[in-house]
Symmetry: C2
């Protein structure tokens, strides 16, 4: 989309779509996420086409922006909520209680009671204590037991924070039944950014044995929640949403034939590519004349929206107006006085050598896990702004 002006080529961003074109011209005083809600709809339709009979429960935590939720409600999406706050938000925007699952395995007792009073009937659990809390505060509710994925195929394997093992999962189904709950099935999370559908196979295979064991134990299971892991593009090739989702569902049908209900919880895969952040270069410097790399400081960092750069896990893509010029490696850091606010250092980022303070930078595919991860007022910097296209 370089524009030719009377014989000369004016520098401009090599944008890929109307969202990036809009962002390239957008002026803002502090870093702002531009969101294209039509792009969310396009992604929903692609995922839905591939997932077929599975219910999509959008993982609200990825981006709880009102306009995103409203569009998804209009499209018939269901929702996965991580807290009372997210349940409340979905209901307030018109989602029906049966469309909202309370998917955090760590819930406050009074939040369970609140959700139960407001019609929520489906809760995640992965421990005896949580089952007892749900039984006491949402008597008779449906629960699914989250299984731990010991060998994640994802780019960003999750920690052992959530889920339980095969033996404990079977015990918990019994425990739930003994406490008057309806243990309806299992959930798991393959790991963030599981880039190809075929990578799901070993995980589905392992859990199909747990499913079979539960049936043998007399549990009339009806629900398989395959969680998230649906990828977004951060530079490494990924499959298109419809093909990816269809590939996953083919594996699901093969390892879990005739399972009555399937749930999927895309978050990143639904919204990441619908957002672009507009930021700027604050400073370009070297620490000494012997330094191999430049340091480039942006107006946005780990504490103002790019939390997922922690451990250099998610590698964002940067666009500048000088991208056609000579490029060189640099260490990328945020604007705060915090020494931990460094985005990429172990694997430096290639940026134009002529980059300087004040230059605009677009950060691609930032629609997920940015706005609400931004801190309240770290170092006196306001949180990430949002502009709806």
């Amino acid at each position: 989309m370089n524009m030719h002006v009377a014989g000369a080529v004016a520098p401009s961003f090599d944008v890929a779509n109307r969202l990036e074109a809009f962002a390239a011209d957008f002026e803002c005083d502090h870093p702002t996420l531009i969101l294209d809600i039509d792009r969310v709809e396009e992604q929903y339709r692609g995922l839905k086409a591939g997932l077929g009979r599975a219910h999509i429960h959008y993982a609200v935590k990825a981006n709880p922006q009102r306009e995103v939720l409203e569009r998804l409600i209009a499209l018939g999406s269901h929702f996965d909520a991580a807290s009372k706050g997210e349940v409340e938000l979905c209901l307030s925007l018109g989602a029906q209680p049966h469309q909202v699952s309370f998917g955090n395995t760590v819930k406050r007792a009074r939040d369970i009671a609140w959700a139960h009073e407001h019609g929520i009937t489906l809760f995640a659990v992965d421990s005896a204590e949580e089952i007892e809390k749900v039984a006491e505060n949402a008597p008779g509710a449906e629960v699914y037991v989250r299984l731990i994925v010991e060998m994640s195929p994802g780019d960003w394997p999750l920690s052992r924070k959530f889920g339980c093992d095969h033996d404990m999962a079977l015990e918990l189904l019994d425990h739930a039944r003994e406490h008057g709950l309806k243990p309806v099935g299992f959930s798991f999370h393959v790991g963030s950014q599981t880039r190809r559908a075929e990578m799901w196979e070993p995980v589905l295979k392992v859990f199909s044995r747990t499913w079979a064991a539960a049936l043998e134990n007399g549990h009339d299971l009806s629900l398989l929640n395959i969680g998230g892991g649906f990828p977004a593009f951060y530079g490494e090739p990924i499959e298109a949403p419809a093909a990816y989702a269809a590939g996953v569902m083919e594996l699901v049908e093969s390892y879990f034939p005739n399972v009555p209900r399937v749930m999927a919880e895309p978050g990143r895969g639904m919204v990441a590519e619908a957002g672009v952040i507009v930021a700027e270069v604050m400073l370009v410097s070297r620490k000494s004349d012997r330094d191999m790399h430049r340091w480039v400081y942006l107006s946005i960092g780990r504490f103002s929206g790019l939390a997922e750069a922690e451990g250099e896990a998610i590698r964002y893509q940067f666009l500048t107006e000088k991208d056609g010029e000579a490029m060189g490696p640099c260490i990328l850091a945020g604007p705060s006085c915090d020494s931990a606010d460094v985005l990429y250092e172990k694997r430096p980022v290639m940026l134009p050598t002529s980059l300087k303070s004040g230059d605009k930078v677009l950060i691609r595919n930032c629609g997920a896990y940015t706005t609400t991860y931004s801190s309240v007022c770290f170092n006196g910097f306001p949180p990430l702004g949002v502009h709806i296209l």
Copy 2:
């Protein structure tokens, strides 16, 4: 402070002061920081007694709570601001422009201009480009050059994000003078939590050579900014503030005799011990029957106030009502669905074995780097609340 009630010992917190006693009785629906402003004053007076002729520039980023700043302004403190937002906050509460330094070496050009228009005269720099920005937007201003500490003695050595080396520092003084600025001296940061005054010696020794070289080059230096590093109590012994500060100043006077102006920038050391967080246990669980450790999930995590638990760097101290009972190791995690929201896993935390969902937990010495580091609405959880004692 256990209270004896008619022949039985009611469980209670083993509190150390009136702040913790208040927190023990405080009821709140979500995690809240209780701040004791008198405790801030006590700390200021201790540090001031030890620092003597040095000006204290409180590092606003540690806790920009209005009541903290108002008390410090009343006590005559100066301030170190990390952004336009922090400069604005200090001035709006009555600090005089000459009392506020703009200490971030990464500033937006228009924020420098804004600060200059509002009377700020002292800026930190560590690169040629930043000097040019200051020269253009705050002509004639005083600048100090930040030096990089290559071998930090602190518990939490800073990254190479800030500062420049000896040779470049000398070049930058020339560069500043050539651009019409007043290069008045140097700053550095020994590293967070430098627990004993004697640990400053090697750093001061190295930089005294840079200072001498600058004088030889004809720079009439007048300012040494010794930065932060003043410790708070997180379980490891530290010196009392007055003794610690006096020890540091003795070393400063010995390595930098007759330096006209000395600045110190305590942040954590000023406010950490003036705050206690009130939180609760959300869940206690195991992942399998073979698990060695329990997992304890709190209502607060890395994204809702305890950002400094990253890398298990800062080890917070926890109080419960059951601390007298049998204790056992556990992995401590936050309430969100984020798998990275784990506080302590490599070095588990000892907590009562009878701990369960709903139990209140006090977190000691949390007055620094908690409130504004809290995210806007991560996973639908509200940011850390604040209550002034």
